[in-house]
Amino acid sequence: MVTLERLRLEIRGLDEGELERWIGASLVRAEGAAGARLFEEIDVARIRLIFELRHELEIEEAALPVVLSLMDQLYDLRRRGAQLNAALADLPADVRQAILRRLG
């Protein structure tokens, strides 16, 4: 788990109040109470992403839930796509060919 202190080293310029707002709005998950938060690696990557969306890509705070919701849906799809892909790879070659033909 990653502490707030280490997070600040990794994402320079991150404001704690801003981060707490993101956690409060369920945009980011964290363990522990405010002031003693602990993050998983994926949370750190997501905080970095939100930080970049907000401060480099100039997306307003109010628009963040919309953007992240669309991204989450995109990644849900891609994850499920990858699962299906893996399942397809285990099928006999002729079945696989038949499916790929149907997909055009």
Binding site: L9, E56, M71, D72, D76
Partner: protein, 308 residues
């Protein structure tokens, strides 16, 4: 040698900090890898854009680049492990749309079929040898280790250690590259590199500006007034320095070549020693002397008009 960062951002050498920021933002919006998952071209473009921005948005690094002291690879910064690396793996479930909510109410994705998914997601990709990903670490280094150079041991999240050779003259934010110490390659491809970003722990006494180092040196009243030979600590050991009589708090002396040692094309910097007079314990003798002693016409606060 990496591409010219000015060309990468589509700006010219005279661009202002604001121009650089605007050019970077415009390109980042287009190429950000988390917004273009699976798009290798966008990912490569973003890496170049981010590296160019890293270099040019830091005035000191930009000046060093313009003077030819560092090349564009000096600013390389692999986007750590971007969000999509997690989001597309099983761990991405943590933010599955149906679960996260985020004020929208779950979407109930899990019950839907695959019928309307785009076919190209499922295309069997040809999997050949591929180079492993670069791994990125942050190393907190002691001030003197970055000035003089040192070997520092970095403990990785998996418990392994990496001996990092910090070259003399390393600065805050410099990135060291250890070839082949990143993620292993796939199917016989070469391993990626470890990129280590150096954070310098500030020193209690020294302060660095480029190649020069600054130090406040306490001296006694009698050393300042009468002159003395004093030992001055420097990053490479103490040096004897002669104080001429009638020095004062704020007097600055220079020890040539005692700053950051020469490295690359840069000559050694200097150590600037600023005297700070410390009165220390006083006694009856000093007090009675001062009662009889005057400095006609001297006002230590002269020239402070406008301070209120």
């Amino acid at each position: 040698m990496a591409d010219d960062p000015y060309k990468t951002l589509g700006i010219d050498k005279t661009a202002s900090a604001e121009d650089i920021r605007a050019a970077y933002r415009k390109l980042a919006k287009k190429h950000h890898p988390d917004l273009n998952p699976g798009n290798k071209a966008a990912e490569e473009a973003f890496k170049k854009v981010a590296a160019a921005n890293d270099l040019l948005s830091d005035p000191e690094k930009r000046a060093r680049y313009d003077r030819g002291e560092i090349d564009a690879t000096g600013a390389e910064r692999e986007p750590p492990r971007t969000y999509r690396n997690y989001a597309e793996s099983g761990r991405g479930e943590r933010y599955a749309h149906a679960g996260a909510g985020a004020g929208f109410g779950g979407g109930g994705f899990a019950d839907e079929g695959f019928e309307d998914l785009f076919a190209n997601i499922f295309e069997q990709r040809a999997r050949g040898p591929a180079r492993g990903q670069d791994a990125r670490y942050v190393l907190q280094a002691a001030f003197l280790d970055t000035v003089n150079g040192a070997t520092s041991r970095l403990t990785l999240p998996d418990g392994q250690t990496l001996d990092v050779k910090i070259p003399p003259g390393t600065q805050e934010g410099d990135v060291l590259r250890l070839r082949g110490r990143g993620e292993p390659g796939r199917q016989g491809g070469p391993a990626g590199d470890a990129l280590i970003e150096i954070h310098v722990t500030p020193h209690r006494f020294y302060r660095r500006e480029g190649q020069d180092i600054f130090l406040d040196l306490p001296v006694s009243l009698s050393e300042a007034v009468l002159g003395a030979k004093v030992n001055v600590p420097t990053p490479r050991g103490p040096v004897a320095m002669t104080l001429k009589p009638h020095a004062d708090s704020g007097t600055e002396l220079r020890l040539r070549g005692r700053g950051v040692p020469a490295h690359g094309k840069l000559p050694a910097g200097d150590l600037y020693v600023k005297l700070r007079v410390v009165i220390g314990p006083t006694d009856e003798k000093l007090e009675s002397f001062l009662r009889t002693w005057t400095q006609p016409g001297f006002d230590p606060r002269a020239g402070m008009e406008g301070a209120e």
